[in-house]
Assembly symmetry: C2
Homo-oligomer: 276 residues x 2
């Protein structure tokens, strides 16, 4: 089911700058028992990143209303996607002074993953395709996703469930669709998202939870060797929430105690949200 600018239709004008140039951004939100998880954080990021791209949109109330309409009609479990583009118009790349952004909200079935991914972990490869650096775009979940698309073609489902990507300086940034955390000697590390990468919502919740519970967590530069020599690895995003990594390239890793603690905190946070 799709709502475009509040209207039930699944079609947009090809003149929309989202289609013409990837001129916009998006959020992917898990809906569980009728509750869009971490909605406040998703909408905050969306509005913040709209500002960064000078897309004049800040109407959270309107999005919340449209989300509730979608959930009411579709059902209480699924994945909600919000695409916000700069809308139609402008001279070539140059946008209009006051564009009228397009909101495209859609809701989809949950992807089906084996339960083992969450419990025993997933296999992860190292991608050859790299992320390019752009400090202005770093962190933003924008619509320019060719790098992730090319990288996600590097493996088959039977070989791996995710691929890690490095930047131009060979530092690990994230997975194609998830953020990465590594644990070493009890300290949690996650790559800095200042040159490239997406500042994930679940990533920020993991960081807050770790601090609240007195665990040490650091944003830092991470090399491939750091990942290969870590005691524990895990991935986060808004749909999978958290997957331990059981194998990175050739190296087999167990699901460690820090990962399990963070998993439990996240699942409790979600239960609290649903219980609201």
């Amino acid at each position: 089911m799709v709502l475009i600018n509040g209207k039930k239709t699944s079609q947009i004008e090809i003149a929309d700058r989202g289609f013409q140039y990837g001129d916009g951004l998006f959020e992917t939100i898990k809906v569980k028992n009728g509750v869009p998880l971490f909605l406040c954080k998703h909408l905050e990021r969306l509005i913040r990143d709209c500002k960064k791209l000078s897309i004049p949109f800040e109407d959270k109330a309107l999005l919340k209303h449209e989300i509730s309409v979608l959930i009411q009609e579709y059902g209480r479990n699924g994945v909600l996607k919000i695409i916000l583009s700069r809308g139609i118009g402008g001279r070539g790349y140059r946008p209009l002074g006051k564009p009228l952004p397009t909101r495209a909200l859609s809701i989809h079935p949950n992807p089906v993953y084996p339960e083992s991914f969450e419990r025993q972990g997933v296999k992860v490869i190292l991608c050859r395709n790299r992320l390019s650096s752009n400090t202005t775009l770093a962190g933003i979940k924008h619509l320019n996703r060719l790098e992730q698309i090319l990288a996600s073609r590097e493996w088959n489902d039977c070989d791996a469930q995710e691929g890690l990507m490095v930047d131009q300086a060979n530092r690990i940034v994230e997975g194609t669709k998830s953020n990465l955390f590594i644990v070493k000697h009890g300290i949690i590390y996650t790559p800095e998202i200042d040159n490239c990468g997406v500042a994930g919502v679940v990533r920020s919740i993991v960081m807050e939870s770790a601090l609240e519970h007195g665990l040490e967590i650091k944003e830092t530069r991470i090399r491939v060797e750091d990942v290969a020599s870590a005691d524990e690895l895990f991935l986060t995003n808004s749909v999978i929430i958290i997957w331990p990594v059981k194998q990175f390239v050739e190296k087999v890793i167990g699901v460690g105690p820090v990962t399990q603690r963070i998993q439990n905190w996240l699942f409790k946070t979600i239960e609290l949200e649903i219980g609201k």
Copy 2:
């Protein structure tokens, strides 16, 4: 007027990967006296870049047919745009094994520019927004254009007509919508397009023409100082064809003899195409 997969409609499904992720590429072609200029070269580039992105499309004949339908209905002068996306489907970023690409062809009025731009030249600024490096995507006219969009917001029409962009190593790559050539001591230089930038069709024609006419032309690294100290500068793209640069930042430059020779060759080439 718009043809999407051969059908007269201006709307596409929001599930199209062009809208979801910028997963596709495009061509912009000037139509003059009913002739789409440099059509063979445009279609060659499109098919070549489809291969690079693993988008399975190579039906030039189909595109040629649809282009002729558009021109017949619309009129004999305008700007034709072909967007070719990977179509609908796949799991998130990962495309389907055999996607069905979307063709979106549209034709638009020529943009109106003062005649002086072509004769006396244009003013050009240096953009703060940079291009990021990705050797796989370099050269391709793909749909991930946020960098050009942000850069094109850096000036007003009254201040300048184009902005030059540097890469992460501070080397000049191109304008936001055009390729750059500089002339120094009679030799023509243009930035290499191996890390970022678009391998423009008119750029390739200029390079061929220069060689044919015995002028020395080199693809090389170009610094801001090289541009500032050049004897002549000019810009090319498929709509403007060729504009001399009369001012780069503060430096005023005349329309030089090499630029004029190349302008004449290009205009003659176009006359030949139209006369066919």
